[in-house]
Symmetry: C2
Subunit: 323 residues, 2 copies
Amino acid sequence: MSDDVIRRIKEKGTLVDDVLDMYLPIVSPVELYKASRHLVDAGGKRLRPATLILAAEMCGAKAEDVLPAAVAVEFVHNFTLIHDDIMDKDDLRRGLAAVHVIWEEPGAILAGDTLYSKAFEILADCKGDPKRLVDVFRILSKTCTEICEGQWMDIDFESRTEVSESEYITMVEKKTSVLYGASAMIGGILAGASEEEAQALWNFGTYTGIGFQIFDDVLDLITPEAVLGKVRGSDIMEGKRTIIAIHAKEHGVDIPYFGCGDATTAQIEEALQVLDKAGSIEYANKKAVEYVENGKVQLDMFNDSDAKKTLLELADYMISRTH
Amino acid sequence: MSDDVIRRIKEKGTLVDDVLDMYLPIVSPVELYKASRHLVDAGGKRLRPATLILAAEMCGAKAEDVLPAAVAVEFVHNFTLIHDDIMDKDDLRRGLAAVHVIWEEPGAILAGDTLYSKAFEILADCKGDPKRLVDVFRILSKTCTEICEGQWMDIDFESRTEVSESEYITMVEKKTSVLYGASAMIGGILAGASEEEAQALWNFGTYTGIGFQIFDDVLDLITPEAVLGKVRGSDIMEGKRTIIAIHAKEHGVDIPYFGCGDATTAQIEEALQVLDKAGSIEYANKKAVEYVENGKVQLDMFNDSDAKKTLLELADYMISRTH
């Protein structure tokens, strides 16, 4: 993927950076707001706001008109990261100490809760037809509920010996991809998309979001720690039932150091070679590509435009990125 | 306060009980929803939904028209209880084991998050002018942010040696009373209240809510554990800077067993006698009454009605209840 494409995607997503101080100022109690901003300021790829803004532009709106909603979905994403890191006891995120490491667990619970409510508070700032805005509130809140369900399933899977691929896909859909679906749909709705268009945008987001997460599971294995910004192979060590682990198990392959809690880089390398030989990594990669392709065809109903082109490129980027 | 008055207040608040299965059904993942329902099903006084419904009725709406909003504020309240109990390490609530005791911390974090998003999801179900509904979303989300700020302040106070009365009042306002203010205001707005009426309802809720919390601090000291549904004197043992503790400190009185972490009933009794002698409990009681009276006069602008009468009685009940 060319640097130019990545620049175009980044340009949209980072529009939220310019308004962070306006929408989430560091006010009293200062430490609460510092904790809330910690991960947001650390960056991230801003793919959800980029999806929202591009969907809105494709449907005829301007980026500035949907910027509050773009900030809202980024805050929801960061809220889930903060709470997930507490639950999963992950101490490193985006190359930084997790929020609960710096501000302890009560501080991190509250920082997450604050981002959660701020997301809805900011959403109310969107201009336009209030009826559409109520729809947007309904979509985002329902999405948040599904994210909770997905995270619950993810935790539950760890204590189970058997998880099927379809259960894994349902978990990923709820935990990760619905927020992409919501981002695309909300962008469309705020721009006045028809019901059919809004549904297509939802499908685009959820399908590509599933592809994104499957590819994320692949990256967790193959990306060097310095690039990943967190411990590499953590899914293996935590015994996470990713599609890769499920594929290996279904083919009678035992993954070395699976669920061992801790492993050296050499041991992770060993696990990686076993998974590579079993074809599990290739299988996951193929699945990710399939989901992204299914997502992209959803946009066939929209007229060609720069925004549509970039949205399709964004879908490809989800499964070609290096971190 | 007569049984008849309590019955009238309860009648409004418990309207939410009839729709709980509709708005928060126990669906998959079942344990997540059981955890979310745990405290909601344990009851509580439902004073926030009662406030919302009575304010709406006073402004000419019917209870059934604002029922989703009444459920929403009750869910927000329960979400804060679940997360606060994790942060404060309180293991007992409403006579039951806290959510984190039964479902562990990750389960309780998610159960709280689910109630949070469900509150907003349900709110979108309110009928009527979408413009008003957007205002309601704005109010509730802003309120949730303030609740987080209040809880942060509350935790912060524990590690400080000096907390002034005005700092305590600000904390209580954010942590507890704004949700009463929001409940009253939302009830009014959904019923078509004017800006001036909505503001008066906000003031009514926040003033009486401050009175409620000050009285709650008194009850924590004087109510037997079986009635309170949690360990008595927990504020003393945790070293909480309530208005009672602040008054005592300002008058040079050392509270026995303050912040000791654990104490017998006899030791709590000893602390109580010291506080009683210092006039700190009486002072807090007087303050609670003042706030409630200031709240009640806010309703002067509304015409007399059964709903207004009950709302005023509810304000009195806040500082005359036994638990």
